[in-house]
Amino acid sequence: MQDLVRIENMSFSRGERPIYHNISLSIPQGKTTAIMGPSGIGKTTLLKLIGGQLRPQEGDILYKNESIPKMKRGRLFEVRQQMSMLFQSGALFTDMTVFENVAFPLREHTKLSESLIRAVVLMKLQSVGLRGAAQMMPSELSGGMARRAALARAIALDPELIMYDEPFAGQDPISMGVIVKLIKELNDAMNLTSVVVTHDVAEVMSIADYVYILADKRVIGEGTPEQIRDHDSELVQQFLCGQADGPVPFHYPAKSLEQDFLGSR
């Protein structure tokens, strides 16, 4: 299986704070790859690195064997037309209707006639179940609907790679079920390569072909969902089972209780 994206020995820091140290992973073409890990370890940062919005200090990120950090801006924008990203907030343009939002990338990057754009937009909205909401403004949508509208916009240009940033966060069970179904169906129907960044274990394990678990600036576990469930790392098991204490301690590092309570006397 050919890899669409390959991250090779990549290190990335924000200022003095290291986020990733020498990590390597690959995203196989046509598959759904899940990237999981505790909050705040830089999962969204990883998507931004793949999208070329951030540059690593060391190592390389290859898209179809072409280095993203070394691309010139013009080439990067060409490559980005083959990528898409579903943001956690949806990031819909608030001054446009749902229809206009989905039509936006088509109008920016194609010379399609308005009638063809209308047909494509309605098809995309139909695929996420929001054809009836085409004329609504983003402020009128529920959180789940906004995410589905953003998904319709993300697939407007039929990208090869789609990156989902916490697609299930803050969703009710019905909306979550809808999004899980959409990710799976779109991936199969359009032969997309999907990268799902999340910490919702059950949902993503049901649709992922391959899973990476990140923590402590590195990949701590990888494999198929079955391999991950049986992984022998305590940290992986703590994450999967949602245990409050373990290798990731419940208490934030601090002085001893005695020192804190009695030290000032």
Binding site: Q53, R80, S84, A91, F93, R107, E108
Partner: protein
């Protein structure tokens, strides 16, 4: 020593901000103009220009009226009330029109531009544009920058025209200055190139600086409610100070040797 290092850090921070501001400006202005973006600029001219008309007209009228009233009380002592027309017109065209319009524009449209762009950043709309291979500097910043540069000189001219009419309402209709002398002495005293065009040039410079500060502060804001609030305040403060400072320099260059 720590104090000295602090000055160094602060200076480096300011230099970096100037670099980022120049990056935003060149990204917005140097990029190849696209016909697709003309409707966006027209929409922004409506938002920053047409929607600022009310405050400009009301302020222009009151400033013209106050100017006429103040000038009349001085001029009448010297029997020179026929000079009221040029006094009002020159004050407005050379100074008050461009300067007050720029200050009002910074408060009304500049702060709104900063808040809008800052909120677009906070809600990841700018990032999503980047990911859709659309340059936010061209799609978001450039139309707003051009709209400011086009709108503000027109607003300043409207401000001056309304102010002159306000001056007439007080000077001629209320205080009894002869209408013929109000207009004819004004016509004789006001030079198109020296007065009207210099005012327009000032206004274009103010428009450029105020809109640049507004869009940059929004684009560079920290994407939190506190960060956007801070950026909006900075837009009004920096733009107002820049206008007043530049006004002195431009006035010295244009009229200083007369």
């Amino acid at each position: 020593m720590e104090w000295f290092a602090g000055i160094g850090r602060h200076s480096l921070g300011k230099l970096a901000a100037i670099g980022r501001a120049l990056f935003v400006l060149t990204g917005a202005l140097v990029a190849k103009p696209s016909l697709k973006h003309v409707p966006l600029t027209i929409k922004q001219i409506y938002v920053v220009g047409v929607q600022s008309l009310a405050i400009i007209i009301v302020s222009g009228a009151f400033i013209g009226m106050v100017l006429a009233l103040q000038a009349y009380t001085v001029l009448v002592d010297y029997g020179a009330e026929e000079s009221l027309g040029p006094m009002v017109a020159l004050s407005l065209l050379r100074e008050l029109g461009p300067v007050v319009t720029a200050l009002l524009f910074a408060g009304r449209a500049g702060s709104a531009l900063t808040a809008e762009i800052g909120l677009m950043k906070a809600t990841e709309q700018l990032t999503s544009l980047e990911m859709m291979a659309v340059d936010p500097l061209r799609r978001i910043i450039a139309p707003r920058l051009w709209a400011g540069i086009i709108s503000m000189p027109l607003l300043a001219l409207i401000f001056s025209a309304i102010g002159i009419l306000g001056g007439q309402a007080v000077g001629v209709d209320w205080l009894g200055v002869d209408a013929g002398s109000y207009w004819s002495v004004m016509q004789a005293a006001v030079d198109f190139d020296d007065d009207v065009m210099n005012g327009v040039i000032k206004s274009v410079v103010f428009a450029f600086v105020v809109t640049w500060i507004a869009v940059f502060k929004g684009y560079d804001s920290i994407p939190t409610s506190e960060g956007i609030s801070q950026a909006t305040t900075q837009t009004v403060v920096y733009a107002s100070l820049a206008v007043l400072g530049l006004d002195f320099i431009l006035t010295a260059l244009m009229f200083g040797t007369h």
